[in-house]
Symmetry: C2
Subunit: 90 residues, 2 copies
Amino acid sequence: MTMVLLREAVGQTLRAARTSQGRTLRDVARDARVSLGYLSEVERGQKEASSELLNAICTALGLSLSGVFSELSAELKIREGETLTVVDAA
Amino acid sequence: MTMVLLREAVGQTLRAARTSQGRTLRDVARDARVSLGYLSEVERGQKEASSELLNAICTALGLSLSGVFSELSAELKIREGETLTVVDAA
């Protein structure tokens, strides 16, 4: 089973939360005290967020870590299913 | 709100899965193709696991990433509650 990369799923969850709040990268990066480039890379799944900075980003977005991972778990389950379907069809 | 560190929660979830299977660090590290020291540090929450190596460790343990994060989310929720209780009592 090819698994989804955690940093990509985390990035998409964080980006979805930010855009649903109508906020810019600049705004959230400032609140989280991370650089705009760092946040952008995390959102695109290009950089692993450290646990400390992930907490800072979640706090800036008004999210709990458990809430993020609850959403993430549901999302991963769907994607793992899609991956399995592709494997089954091959 | 002081949040739990993700790497500590991940480490405890992975260690709990390994010990419940009665397996050694050496055994799981070999299957995951990571060093014993790396796995040990990840389990103790001292090192952030990269997404790739987290997948390898999950595969070695026969776990899906979604399963790990579902469990993790429940665990985080409990711990965030404990943290909040301490804050409320202060």
